[in-house]
């Protein structure tokens, strides 16, 4: 294994996304305990779950936006998206994320999967290049009702910008092991994992493979175990992570909170979620140990630099953790994940076929929320059109691309519609105005009646618009959502 301590490539920024809804495990157990009373011990805390219109692509977009806060998107050369639950087998998932983030067309983009360590593997790939790479890991795993996995799995995404320049953390050690240790598996196209006995996984896998790798990684990198200040160990088996680092000579008090009580096990995103949480707490000079686990392990060691104090404010794991809505509606979760057949009525029968031609022509409009700004009058509109909508100046062919996704919006009109089909009724929608001009009739998501009023400020989010279930194609567009508390201007 190679060890690099001299590369100028490091972490430039971090970001995360945790869906608002936090499903209470006690609510799951209350329904299932007649059948699976043994899960009572894990019926504690909450797990993050996305709304019906979220998937690994939309969560990746949110984590990417958070990571790129205050940074130049044109600087991104490569996008590395990791997940074992990406919706498309043969349509670039990272390509969709790229369009939503309005990154350059001249972009190298890869989708990584196949293992729980795909997130750290994507990070290692980025660290091996002198490109500026946006690394995102995003996960939304399904589990059967009344299974231990259902209790454990959470949905979230984490992101790191990697490159040269004002790095906030240098990579001072990296070490990988790949071995076909099948603790669980999921065949391509299958919905659920199949798990082997947890005691064997712990003793033969976690301890022997990951435990030894940590020891070997630190030794190879010449990092004194006692110098590690944050241990981001993506192993959720109770007590296992503490045991591993103790065996390696690291103080167990350095263990980063494993997020199981608040988010859940987030798969490929898990090690990066822990790393982002550690970076949010870190001081210059701190050392962060990251360990993933899945058919082997990737171990990385980072040293935090002074530049972390100058990074523009962002939500990260900490900020999104605070944006929570406690959810006890287990039945809604089952419906949204397709785990229970629910009557949707004739109004849901409309054909959602997406012509490839129209989506390609309007990809910036639809996926990037790019409108038009008149070069003569400065008038902003959505969507862009040949002839300006402005009644005072009939200009033609004067609009240039104008990305609008990051602009604050305000509600002009709204309703809560109980008639139209929605997986999350009632459907809130209305006219919204963008700051600086432009208007859109938008669907609102993640809202309750208390979140919507004329004049209310909101933010745009990239979400699933509808699914063509007949042909297996997901349509995405932008919706208005409540602004995170920390981003609200007030009023």
């Amino acid at each position: 294994m190679t060890v690099s301590t001299t590369s100028p490539v490091g972490i430039l920024a971090f970001g995360a996304y945790v869906p608002r809804r936090r499903l209470q495990r006690s609510a799951i157990h209350a329904v299932n305990k007649w059948y699976a009373p043994g899960l009572g011990g894990s019926a504690k805390g909450e797990k993050a779950i996305g709304n019906w219109d979220e998937d690994p692509i939309t969560m990746a977009v949110e984590a990417g936006r958070d990571c790129l806060t205050g940074l130049d998107r044109a600087s991104v050369d490569a996008l590395r998206l990791a997940s074992t639950t990406l919706p498309n087998a043969d349509r670039s998932n990272s390509g969709v994320v790229k369009e939503a983030l309005t990154l350059s067309d001249q972009l190298e983009a890869t989708d990584a999967g196949g293992s729980q360590k795909a997130g750290t593997s994507a990070l290692l790939q980025a660290l091996s290049s002198d490109q500026t790479s946006l690394v995102i890991a995003s996960e939304q795993r399904l589990a059967r009702a009344a299974s231990p996995a259902e209790m454990s799995y959470g949905e979230a995404a984490a992101s790191l910008l990697v490159g040269t320049g004002d790095v906030i953390a240098n990579c001072i050690g990296r070490y990988s092991v790949t071995v076909d240790f099948v603790d669980h598996f999921r065949e391509s196209g299958a919905r659920f994992d199949y798990d082997w006995e947890s005691r064997w996984v712990r003793d033969e896998g976690i301890v022997k493979i990951a435990g030894q790798a940590i020891i070997d990684a630190l030794d190879a990198a010449g990092v004194e175990p006692s110098s590690v200040t944050h241990s981001a160990i993506a192993i959720s088996a109770p007590g296992a992570a503490a045991k591993l680092i103790k065996s390696a000579g690291i103080d167990p008090k350095t263990l980063v909170d494993n997020q199981i009580a608040t988010i859940g096990h987030t798969g490929t995103a898990y090690p990066l979620m822990l790393l982002v949480a550690a970076l949010q707490k870190a001081q210059p000079g701190d050392r962060i140990l990251v360990t993933s686990f899945g058919q082997g392990t990737d171990v990385l060691v980072f040293e935090v630099t002074d530049a972390i104090t100058k990074l523009p404010a962002r939500l990260g794991v900490e900020g999104w953790l605070a944006e929570k809505v406690e959810d006890t509606n287990y039945q809604r979760y089952l419906f949204h994940r397709g785990l229970v057949e629910t009557e949707t009525g004739m109004r849901a029968e409309g054909d959602q076929k997406q012509p490839g031609t129209t989506l390609y022509r309007q990809r910036k409009t639809v996926l990037g929320l790019v409108g038009g700004k008149c070069t003569e009058t400065g008038a902003v509109q959505f969507p862009k059109s040949d002839i300006s909508v402005s009644p005072n100046n009939r200009t033609q062919f004067t609009q240039e691309d104008y990305p609008m996704a990051e602009l604050p919006v305000r509600v002009v009109t709204y309703t809560a519609d109980s008639l139209t089909f929605s997986p999350d009724p009632p459907t809130f929608y209305g006219n919204i105005d963008f700051e600086g001009g432009g208007r859109l009739t938008a669907e609102f998501t993640d809202v309750t009646a208390n979140d919507v009023e004329v004049g209310q400020e909101m933010r745009m989010v990239f979400r699933i618009k509808s699914k063509d279930t007949l042909r297996g194609f997901t349509k995405y567009f932008w919706k208005a959502a409540p602004r995170p508390t920390s981003q609200r201007k007030g009023g």
Binding site: P383, T413, S418, T427, E453, K475
Partner: protein, 401 residues
């Protein structure tokens, strides 16, 4: 300004099918029901009709495309039939085509017929359909009540009207229409309701409850038009003449620019000003005897009173509560029950409104006849949604009005 349509065209005859859940008939049968009444009223033979316009909004759910269904349904003698689809303004727009054809001299006698079969979809409310390939990607698939309900949110905010007050005012709109519909034998809904029933009904799209929404019906209505001279030559006296027809179509300003505040219908105001000018009406509040407006939802009717300049801005809700638009008020609105109770077979609705105004002007409206000898009557359709729509206004009146 062109000289306009005023007094150039007369209505020779009109007909209207019984609206409602017409499980018994296909669209053809409804067309025949309306046409038989109109041609008998006109006193002509079908071979005297020179051209026809067919208005249908949801053709995919009933008659299918083109003008052929009208030609086949009525066995028209090989004349030109134009199909009109312009959302809920289809009926008035078809009438406009027939009227313009006569006014131009291209036709002596023309037919406009609107028909809709909405009860073959399997569910209540309007059929879910596409609004085009771009809208499929960036538009909101809301329901009609959801689209129109938004007017209420902006109206409350702009004029500082308490939610309960506005709910009561729009509730009065519906109570009034049910009172009127009860007297109309061709109406879909003929049962009176009280204000508590309206206010406590299940919510459809906040703040519109079940009784704030009009019925979705099957039905047909038609008009046969000619010149005043030909009408007289056929022995007609006491003619009802077309005084104005105006259409205004959104160009995206309301939905894509930021000038519109969501409390009114931009197109209706444009169409109303032009229609009053065309008809030579200077003071609509005094000159218009009665109105049939597009009360697809109670809030639509309320703000339309302001858009037609029959109420001051922000005062419509008070005028409604004061009974200004009740059947015995200053300017009755929907004296036949309106879309709310007569029913709303989309393509037929504009012609149904003109049919009612025609009957009222001729004193042939039976139990619901306005007793103060109406002279000028206005009808109004609104197709689409508040921020993007087609608004149409037709004013008909007696000779000399």
């Amino acid at each position: 300004m062109p000289s306009g349509i005023k007094d150039k065209v007369a209505i020779l005859g009109m007909g209207c099918a019984k609206f409602g859940e017409r499980w018994d008939k296909d669209a053809d049968g409804l067309m025949v029901e309306a046409f038989d009444e109109a041609i008998a009223d006109a006193g002509i033979d079908v071979t005297q009709i020179d051209a026809a316009w067919l208005s249908v909004a949801f053709d995919a759910q009933n008659v299918g495309p083109s003008g052929i269904p009208l030609a086949v349904g009525l066995r028209l003698p090989g004349i030109g039939v134009t199909k009109v689809e312009n959302y809920c303004a289809s009926g008035t727009d078809g009438f406009r085509g027939a009227v313009y054809a006569v006014a131009s001299g291209a036709c002596d006698i023309a037919l406009a017929l609107g028909v809709e079969k909405l009860k073959d979809t399997g569910y209540g409310g309007l059929p879910v359909r596409t609004r085009g390939t771009t809208s499929d990607m960036i538009g909101v698939v809301g329901s009609a009540p959801g689209n129109f309900a938004q007017i209420a949110s902006a109206y409350r905010a702009k004029y500082g009207v308490a939610p309960d007050d506005l709910k009561r005012a729009i509730g009065h709109v519906s109570v009034k229409s049910h009172d009127n519909g009860a007297l109309n034998p061709k109406a879909h809904l003929r049962k009176k309701i009280d204000i508590d029933t309206v206010i406590n009904a299940p919510m459809i799209a906040e703040p519109l409850g079940l009784f704030d929404c009009c019925g979705v019906s099957d039905g047909a209505a038609c008009a046969i038009v000619t010149t005043p001279e030909i009408a007289r030559s056929l022995g007609k006296t006491g003619l009802v003449l077309v005084k104005a027809i105006q259409l205004a179509t959104s160009n995206g300003w309301e939905s894509q620019s930021t000038g519109w505040d969501g409390t009114y219908f931009h197109t209706t105001r444009i169409a109303a000003k032009k229609a009053y000018a065309e008809a030579g009406i200077e003071n609509p509040e005094d000159d218009i005897s009665l109105t049939e407006v597009h009360d697809c939802f109670s809030i639509t009717e309320l703000v339309t009173m302001e858009d037609l300049f029959l109420s001051a801005d922000g005062k419509g809700w008070k005028d409604v509560l004061d009974g200004k638009f009740d059947s015995d008020g200053k300017i009755p609105c929907q004296i036949d029950g309106g879309l709310k109770c007569f029913g709303h077979p989309i393509g037929a609705s504009g012609l149904r409104m003109i049919y009612e105004n025609y009957l009222q002007l001729l004193g042939r409206a039976g139990d619901r006849q306005r007793q103060d000898s109406p002279k000028l009557a206005l009808s109004h359709n609104l197709g689409g949604m508040p921020n993007q729509n087609v608004s149409s206004i037709a004013i008909v009146g007696l000779e000399g009005a």
